[in-house]
Symmetry: C3
Subunit: 116 residues, 3 copies
């Protein structure tokens, strides 16, 4: 038991990615504290892509993405970066809500489920 679950970058608190069957679950990805919404979105999405590639997936294979914004005022700015970053024809199912994040200086977090 257990070999059917692969964990990546596992610490005491979380694994950065967990693979089960043909599905990969990423931990919530954020950008760098204190940066602009555009910069944080770009950095978080870069981290998503790096993580997905590290387990043999890709940003074109995302299934569902939960987006938390600290403030809905950032909705349009986040979406512009998101749409530029996303490969055409590969958009996942998505939901976006407002939530304070682990630090006051974090503006956006992406929680991704993808296909391997």
């Amino acid at each position: 038991m257990g070999n059917d679950i692969q964990r990546f970058e596992t610490g005491r608190r979380m694994s950065k990615a967990v693979v089960h069957g043909n599905t990969v679950y990423l931990c919530g990805q954020v950008g760098i504290r204190g940066q602009s919404i555009e910069e944080q979105t770009q950095e978080a999405l870069n981290r998503v892509q790096t993580l997905l590639e590290s387990v043999g997936s890709d940003k074109s294979r995302m299934l569902q993405v939960i987006i938390w914004l600290k403030s809905m005022e950032h909705f349009d700015a986040m979406n512009r970066i998101w749409e530029d970053w996303l490969p055409e024809g590969a958009a996942p199912a998505r939901a976006c809500g407002q939530s304070a994040l682990a630090s006051d200086e974090l503006l956006v977090e992406f929680t991704v489920t993808a296909a391997l």
Copy 2:
């Protein structure tokens, strides 16, 4: 690669539904801005059912539903519509939290994972 993922109503920003294996992920469903919590709940759930049926699933086959309410004051009103709408014996796992949504006039959003 890619044929194992089926996307429905795919735009630049999101797909309304994504099928992978025997699981379907829907994008967050809302009702019509400015309407009452009862009307928004009913409309959002109608959209859930329409989407599920369009991919060959059904509201009796939901696995997990994340509900975001703009205000917990609407918890009971939302639940009455939800319980009437749900087929008996087919209730999914569920979580309900408070979150501002994309528009100030949106009161409730349902993010559904279902079996095909």
Copy 3:
């Protein structure tokens, strides 16, 4: 149709656990209203473990956990209990956001997806 989905402790509103394929989805688990963040975290996690075991899974087999905290002031206290409770080397992917919960007296909720 339907036999491929197993539901546990199913009421009008939700099932406490739903199994599909090799994946189990739990409904959001909370502690006891009015207790401290440490007590609520411990009780909610005990309930997660009981539910997982009741369907043939285990806290060492969690894939993704969404954590909602009423206040991020409780982030560190929740994490201490979480890390003590988690089997070493078995940390799931995780995201933690701030959300008011169904009752004002509830401080934390865990929404778990696990492998069977």
